[in-house]
Amino acid sequence: MKPPRFQYHAARTIEEAIELLARYAGEARILAGGQSLVPMLNFRLLEPRALIDIGRIPGLDAITGGPLVTLGAMTRQRSAEESPIVQTALPLLREALRWVGHLPTRSRGTIGGSIAHADPSAEIPLVLLASDGSVTVQGPQGTRDIAAVDLFESLFTTSLVPGELLTRVHMPAMPAGTRIGFDEFARRHGDFAIVTVAVALTPSEDGSTARANPESGPRYAQVRLAASGVGSVPLRLTAAEAHLLQHGTEPASLAAAAELAAAAADPVGDANGSADYRRHLLKVLLERTLESTVRPTAKRLAS
């Protein structure tokens, strides 16, 4: 339960980190907060020749606001959670962060590290996808942006190529009035989630959710739904989104959307839950989360 031996480099700049990555030609690992990497080293699941610590690169932990919120890759999850910019502009991220590990792991764990690690049960990659976010990566060839939909390829696998470093994370500020919902099912709070759902419902420009037919429930101009734990990467629930846009949000419509989401998912069973169980959880969690997002009870509003 101790890490194997490795060379250690504390990069002072992004360029130096990229040079080091090139020097070790795929045999080095980037160390950000270490909350996933160090346990994997302790278990000897990884034996990299070198660790390149990006924790001492100045400015890599900055959060900047605006229509597109940018979080430096080294932004601690805890700092994001406590950031006024995140609280105002990225309520879905703010809510999701409460579910990431525990307070002491969020003190060290980073936003960029979690995304680059691409754990299929992780909350932050799911929020990136649900928020139509993107990342900036830098390599010997320069920088490029990758949209969330193109980033997650498979379990623990992103579309970064060897030698590239994830430097910044971008999420569009959610329009005022956006209602968000987030829920997950895990054996215990803080454990890896079995299934997680994220919901963001944005009213039309004038802020109204009014509708022609009062029977159909509030209508939203934009509906964003995503889930993890039901495939090897986080999944946008596009069929359910389309259904809600078209049919509104009265209870029957929410139930139908949840059915559509479950039908479209292709989960893989493992020790934590069979494929059928995961599909069932997705349906139940999505319907429940939609209901509490569209029609919050007084108690939920107070908390």
């Binding site: 031996r5 250690y8 270490g34 080293l41 307070l103 002491p104 792991t105 060290r108």
Partner: protein, 175 residues
């Protein structure tokens, strides 16, 4: 070497030690260790601060939790070299002039420990939680304290102690 399952490359045999200078419980300290040394082992072995406990060594049990720059952090998932330049508070730094920290006092009064193995992590986690969350209800306390596992399962006393401190005026964080 013939039976080794992987090749040890030359540069792995020649790994320079790193300097680790930091502030622990208000005192400037320094040490030299392998880069792979976990912060929990550095505190215990190099600095002799054995109040911080190593349990699971993979970030699950919370026994190894200390304050790094004021925030509760796992020291089994942090390398000592990552903590260079930080301010750390361990369980040894909680009491002042022989007077227990209010959280220690409350644990004492509410019988919040049996064997004591989880207690350092419980205390540090509870202190950080109350510093960052005002007036929590019992559910929030339970959720926060689920960050640390007590094998003696004396959770009720722990929750009672944390709730009791939450009703007291806030105490300054130990430096």
């Amino acid at each position: 070497m013939s039976d080794s399952t992987h090749q040890v490359s030359a540069d792995q045999l020649d790994i320079p030690d790193v300097d680790v200078a930091l502030t622990v419980n208000g005192k400037a300290v320094r040490g030299r260790c392998e880069p792979r040394k976990l912060l929990v082992d550095f505190l215990r072995e190099d600095l002799g601060l054995t109040g911080t406990h190593a349990g699971c060594e993979h970030g699950i049990c919370g026994a190894c939790t200390v304050l790094i720059d004021g925030r509760a952090s796992r020291t089994c998932t942090t390398l000592a070299v990552q903590a260079a330049g930080t301010q750390i508070v361990t369980i040894e730094g909680l009491a002042r002039d022989g007077v227990m920290h209010p959280m220690q006092q409350a644990f004492h009064e509410h019988h919040a420990l049996q064997c004591g193995f989880c207690t350092p992590g419980m205390l540090i986690t509870a202190i950080d939680f109350l510093n960052s969350h005002r007036n929590p209800d019992e559910t929030e306390v339970r959720e926060a304290m689920s960050a640390v596992i007590c094998r003696c399962t004396g959770y009720q006393g722990i929750v009672n102690a944390v709730l009791a401190v939450s009703r007291q005026p806030p105490t300054a964080l130990p430096e």
